[in-house]
């Protein structure tokens, strides 16, 4: 359980760092962005100004450390501040609407992409001297370098604009009654292109990592032993090769999760998908700093938790880790 304790420690510390960054970034910026904003927003309601002041400690006479303490305290109470663009809605309430969409879309897409990518990676490593394998590797090396948002644009152009199979954006048809079957299918139909974008863009990474891990594992003695034992190829491929190769892949998965989530945010922006990503974009556009920071915190927390889940997966799969070893 030492492993467990260490991972929880790291998780909490990372959260703490994210929170701290969140506090200090606006305060460390040259030329006081909050004051700038206040100066620029002369026409806005006084309460909004108060919200900004509170969020940034403008005019506050407290020393930085006291401000930091107050900030932490508020955070613990679940108080993330008040949104500027949707004044006077509290930030967490604004976020609440967006979170399910993002979790649904990105969660599903990431899981599909990981499993599909891993499977293809196993396949191309197993038959690595075939033309098809080389072609797949080459193709995904290229596709992996597409920016997420660009691939999204491409899919919109071809599959929603030229051939109007899918909707251009949004997450559902607004006129539909929530909770009906029709609504459900509409949600599904709207999610396909954004999900496809995330899957295609992120799959390359899993394919290539899994392929490399597999090739390394296939050179191990225990694979030769398994062949010598006359085990069925399927068993060698899964229990001997893939089960070992997937361990570093999961670590890699956890590590690049932040990157995938970033890509997911961009995808939402392009598809005007009403999730956290689009909200972040709007917050940036409207300089809704409290909302923006809350989103950053939420995403960090989500990625950290996902990382933790990956660590637990390793714990389950690798007996060496279970014993607290390497």
């Amino acid at each position: 359980m030492a492993y467990f304790a260490r991972k929880i420690g790291l998780l909490l510390f990372a959260l703490f760092v994210a929170v701290t960054l969140n506090f200090f970034i606006p305060r460390m910026m040259p030329g006081d962005p909050a004051q700038d904003l206040i100066d620029k927003m002369q026409g806005i309601p006084l309460e909004s100004l108060e919200a900004i002041r509170a969020a940034f400690g403008v005019d506050s006479n407290d020393p930085l450390l006291v401000q930091y303490g107050k900030y932490l305290l508020n955070l613990l109470k679940g108080d993330l501040g008040i949104s500027i663009s949707r004044f006077p809605t509290p930030v967490w309430r604004v976020l609440q609407v967006a979170i399910p969409w993002t979790v649904g879309l990105m969660g599903t897409a990431t899981i599909i992409s990981f499993f599909l990518g891993t499977l293809i990676g196993i396949g191309v490593a197993w038959k690595r001297n075939t033309k098809l394998a080389s072609f797949t590797v080459g193709l995904f090396t290229f596709v992996r370098s597409f920016p997420y948002f660009w691939l999204g644009l491409l899919l919109i152009y071809f599959l929603a604009f030229r051939l109007p199979i899918f909707p251009l954006g949004n997450a559902y048809t607004p006129q539909l009654q929530r909770g009906t079957m029709e609504f459900f299918f509409s949600v599904l139909r709207h999610a396909i292109l954004p999900a496809l974008t995330i899957v295609i863009s992120s799959m390359g990474a899993w394919i290539l990592t899994m392929r490399n891990n597999m090739i390394n594992v296939l050179a191990e003695d225990y694979i030769t032993v398994a062949e010598a034992k006359g085990l069925p190829l399927r068993r060698i491929k899964t229990l001997y090769a893939a089960k070992n190769a997937i361990l570093p892949s999961i670590t890699g998965f956890a590590m690049s999760l932040g990157f995938v989530v970033g890509g997911g945010l961009l995808t939402e922006m392009v598809f005007a998908y009403p999730g956290v990503g689009l909200m972040l974009y709007q917050a940036v556009q409207s300089k809704d700093y409290p909302l923006m920071q809350a989103i950053f915190l939420f995403i960090s927390a989500a990625v950290l938790v996902a990382n933790f889940i990956a660590d637990i997966a390793i714990l389950i799969l690798d007996p060496r880790v279970r014993d607290g070893g390497k």
């Binding site: 225990y222 030769t224 062949e227 006359g230 229990l239 001997y240 089960k243 070992n244 014993d323």
Partner: protein, 331 residues
């Protein structure tokens, strides 16, 4: 009765003029070049030589486990009437582990780290016969007992075992289908002397009770002399000397064998200056003309540079491939 006797008389494995190696960009590497030997039922054949002399390629060729670009070019491997060199993959699969199994150099890497000892033992059974879980488990526990590993280790993972234990698990695994031949590729090299000795004594004991044959590959000639009945000394892909261990130890004929014998100081005998062999084995991509050992041979004569001596029987069960002994009778 006579038929049966004849069957008993034929060697278990007859390797005839085997040529195997691997193809690389610049040509064919003759890792095993025209190798012939017989292995009797219940026999213990030791194969010794420096690293890169083709010992491991030979082992993998017998198991037909040569990787990627490595192939058997010609020759035959008669095993109980079938030529292993010509069987197709399906037929070979039926022989592997059932009739011929293998123990590897480093048990550390030869055991799958994410499967328990029990799973790895039983999956060999399930791969070759219909057996229930509990039957397979029972047999696995039996072989574990043979190598003195307590029952409760059945559910252990490799990293929970010590080096010596892992090697014994490896041997248990090789025994599990009761094969007639076990090929051991440096099974004890990575172990400490005391543990190594324990395992070797165990192998000898099991061989007596279970009656399997062993091909034992190592570079440690002093160990091999003690444990094997027959010895083959390999150099640069060829067997240069072959015969009964005692005969080879007491009267090494080939200068290479002599050199190897001179490469380990004795523990209790007189301390004398030892020489070893100068130089290094040749590049098998372009081995030297004539006898492959002549550039390093202290006793080379002109003919050694021109032609390659063949392996000839000089005394009873003692052959050597060297011009110094050509035609000469050893009394």
């Amino acid at each position: 009765m006579i038929e049966l006797d004849r069957l008993e008389m034929t060697p278990l494995l007859q390797c005839k003029n085997l040529v195997a190696g691997y193809r690389i960009k610049s040509g064919f590497v003759h890792a095993v070049d025209d190798v012939s030997f017989d292995l009797d039922r219940g026999g213990f054949l030791g194969i010794a030589g420096e690293s890169g002399c083709g010992k491991s390629t030979l082992a993998y060729a017998i198991m037909r486990l040569l990787k990627d670009n490595a192939t058997i070019e010609s020759g035959s491997l008669l095993f109980k009437g079938a030529d292993l060199a010509k069987l197709d993959e399906e037929q070979m699969k039926k022989i592997r582990w059932v009739d011929i199994s293998m123990a590897f150099q480093s048990a550390m890497n030869a055991l799958n780290p994410v499967l328990s000892v029990g799973e790895q033992l039983t999956d060999a059974i399930h791969a070759h016969e219909e057996a229930t879980q509990s039957d397979a488990r029972k047999r696995a526990l039996e072989v574990l007992k043979l190598v003195d590993i307590p029952k409760d280790r059945f559910n252990s993972y490799p990293h929970q075992l010590s080096g010596g234990m892992k090697q014994r698990v490896m041997i248990a695994m090789a025994l599990i289908l009761n094969p007639e031949l076990i090929i051991m590729d440096e099974p004890t090299t990575a172990l400490d002397v005391v543990v190594q000795r324990t395992i070797i004594e165990k192998i000898q004991e099991l061989r007596k009770t279970l009656g399997f044959s062993v091909i034992f590959i190592t570079h440690d000639l002093s160990l091999l002399v003690e444990i094997s009945d027959t010895l083959a000394i390999m150099y640069a892909g060829k067997i240069v000397e072959y015969g009964a261990s005692e005969s080879l130890f007491n009267r090494p004929l080939h200068p290479y064998t002599k050199g190897l014998m001179n490469s380990f100081p004795s523990l209790t005998g007189m301390i004398k200056r030892m020489g070893g062999i100068e130089g290094k084995p040749p590049d098998l991509l372009k081995p030297p003309e004539g006898c492959r050992f002549h550039p390093r041979c202290p006793q080379a004569i002109p003919i050694c540079r021109e032609s390659c001596p063949s392996l000839e029987e000089i005394a009873d069960r003692h052959s050597v491939a060297c011009f110094l002994h050509k035609g000469a009778e050893i009394l």
